[in-house]
Amino acid sequence: MSAIEDVARSVERAAAVEITGAGTHCGIGAPVVTEGPLTRVAAPAGIVDVQPADMTVRVLAGTPVASLAAALAEHGQECPLDPEDARATVGGVLACGVSGPRRLRHGPLRDAVLEVRVVTGEGRVVRGGGPTVKNVTGYDLPRLLVGSHGTLGVVVEVVLRTQPRAETGRWFTTTAAPGELRARLYRPACLAWDGARTHVLLEGHAADVDAEARMLDLVPTASPSRPPGAHRGRISVEARRIGALATRLRDLEVTWLAEVGVGTVHVGATDPGALDAARFAASAEGGWLLREAGAPDLDPFGLPVPNSALHERVRAAFDPLGKLNPGRLPIAQVQT
């Protein structure tokens, strides 16, 4: 509690605040800019309460995902945050809003958060949501905070939904068409298509995994690696347009891996210009590209935030003075 109060007092006293986690996702979002002094603030770390029989865990937001995963594994459970680098903090992953590769089966990050405690721009500690797995008491602050890039509050504590780890989780590969895989497999955890092959993650009872693999002649393999390159991003596009997007990406100097059925396409390039070209391809298909690493000159989002007037009012509701991560999530100025 006192560690949370400390954060609140720091925010209250500061002119501007940069919220820091483990620094694993620092390529996401625009740089924090302020003219005056900048105070760095980090959420406290620690696992407060694991409730395996309830499938929930209360955790301070500065806790590394790896520590959380280890604590849950003791009870045969997990919380599928799945960041690429498990040194990332829980709060950092939630603030960036980047869902893990098993989203197809387990849903987006925002569905995992039951309760949040945040320090607002005025240094108040505000709680939203609730500790139970089902709850409609008041407005859904937990979902609002996921992907807010630290501009609504310093997430200090969360209650997350956990789940039993599947008995088996195995990767396979195949050249079968991704659409066919999606139609014939029952809720696979991931279908990662690189334009030639699809990596398939099946989870569940071992006999079911084997049977599905046999049915489609899937070949066991290791998990796929994300596209390499110093300059990386993720495209978000309607899942039905992945095929058309792939056609465009093939002509570019990029490697990519598409999450079929989800609409996330991971892109890597050795040249920042190629990442920009991938962004252009994404927008031609109605999507957009979030810069995740490298390409410092590339606009971090490449797309103005929609509903900018509403966004600005929501931001001001939590941070009226614009203290928190100023500049990180650019919202176009509204003409009044």
Binding site: T56, G97, H205, D208, T264, L310, V314, L329
Partner: protein, 432 residues
């Protein structure tokens, strides 16, 4: 009252309300139990029942676009031939609208594993309180900026009106099994619920009924529920066949370890449907014994079910009321039903006193005010039980950000005085 036929007409109606500074209230099928759609004062009621078209079902991508007045069950029926369904299945699904489901973030028996409405809504085209039409969320997995879609779902018409909704459809599971376990005590049944979850099994649905409602339902439907049981659990597991078989035996084992008298596994679809018919007729069956009931909705951590159910019985007994429990046990979502005859003098005081006591007992056990029905008017003034003034102030500011005019379903969800420094005196002529 008006009955728009398109999102543009909703926008026009809201625009007129705005110009005349008249509050407006969205209404779907009016099955809501927290009073969210109840007109307070003299608002414009915008009813969506004429907007009942399913606009598109994309079978390959498993997405449907619907108008808000589409009846929940009609959507699943329309997708059935494609091997798809819409997961949230409130017990009122034959009547309630998808727009109302979005308004309340509705749940249902099958939301245990697959999540409540919010997990299934991809995009909402909303009419904001100034009449502007805008899209929240989208069919792409992420949108830049805040999750305003998530924020809107469950806002009970206080952040605008949903005029078009995109939902995710799920593939029908290859194997489904339904079990009925019966127990000699409520405590044994409740302990079995926690035991199943603790064993690492998340069933598709896990419902409990206590003795009074089980007997009533059995008289009404004849589903073969044991009339002498103190409690029954209706459990459904679904997925691929081997996993399902393992879960069926795992659940049976946990049940027997906790003293289940019988573990009945439905042999075929007809038997499965009969078992579910019992559960789904519970509310209708009550009419056979008393003209009125008050259905409560609160959630406790599932590990606290045993003690809270005992408390619920004590509280009802202290008010000399009959209480029945038929509820979503798997996620700790209690639905105590207080059964009574409203003609009895002084009965409402007792019903309200018991209801209040039940909600407080749930909160004391680490629970929340509502799991799926919402806050509306019913629980508005109980919000301070779970939120402190700073929490409520933040929610009030969020609502004002969506609705600076304050005309969208005012008087609902947040108690007066939620804004720090706000006067708590009721304006002349308002309904309290």
């Amino acid at each position: 009252m008006c009955f728009p036929e398109s999102i543009e007409e909703i926008s026009a109606a809201v625009g007129i309300a705005c110009r005349h500074r008249v509050p407006f209230v969205a209404r779907g099928s009016g099955t809501g139990l927290a009073g969210g759609a109840t007109p307070v004062g003299d608002p414009l009621v915008i009813v969506t029942t004429r907007m009942n078209r399913i606009l598109e079902i994309d079978a390959a991508d498993r997405v449907a676009w619907v108008e808000p007045g589409v009846c929940n069950l009609d959507l699943s029926r329309s997708a059935r031939h494609l091997g798809l369904h819409y997961a949230p299945d409130p017990s009122s699904q034959q009547a309630c609208s998808i727009g109302g489901n979005v308004g309340t973030n509705a749940g249902g028996p099958h939301c245990l594993r697959d999540g409540v409405t919010s997990a299934h809504v991809l995009a909402v085209d909303v009419v904001l309180a100034d009449g502007v039409i805008t899209r929240l969320g989208g069919l792409a997995p992420d949108t830049p900026g805040y999750d305003l879609r998530g924020c809107f779902v469950g806002s009970e018409g206080t952040m605008g009106i949903a005029g078009r909704i995109a939902v995710r459809l799920l593939p029908d599971p290859p194997a489904v099994r339904t079990l009925l376990l019966d127990f000699a005590s409520v405590a044994a049944a409740a302990a079995t619920v926690s035991g199943i979850i603790a064993a690492g099994i998340v069933p598709a649905a896990l419902e409990m009924m206590d003795a009074p409602i089980t007997r009533l339902v059995e008289d009404f439907v004849g589903a073969g529920y044991p009339r002498d049981a103190e409690a029954v659990l209706l459990v459904e597991v679904s997925g691929l066949p081997e996993g399902v078989a393992a879960e069926v035996s795992g659940i049976g084992q946990v049940g027997r370890d906790h003293g289940a008298r019988h573990v009945r596994v439905a042999a075929d679809d007809a038997e499965r449907e009969l078992l579910w018919k019992g559960r789904k007729s519970a509310f209708g069956a009550i009419a056979r014994i008393a003209p009125d009931y008050y259905l409560h909705d609160a959630v406790v951590p599932r590990t606290r079910l045993v003690e809270v159910l005992a408390r619920v019985r004590e509280i009802a007994a202290a008010q000399d009321l009959l209480v029945m429990n038929v509820f979503h046990a798997g996620d700790g979502n209690l639905h105590p039903l207080l059964v009574f005859d409203a003609r009895e003098p002084g009965i409402w005081e007792r019903v309200h006193a018991a209801g209040n006591g039940i909600v407080r007992a749930c909160v004391e056990a680490g629970g929340v005010l509502s799991g799926e029905h919402g806050i509306g008017l019913e629980k508005r003034d109980l919000m301070p039980l779970v939120f402190d003034p700073d929490d409520l102030d933040a929610q009030a500011r969020l609502r004002d950000a969506f609705d600076p005019s304050g005309l969208a379903n005012p008087e609902k969800v947040l108690p007066r005085g939620s804004r720090c420094g706000e006067a708590t005196r009721a304006p002349e002529g308002t309904w309290v």
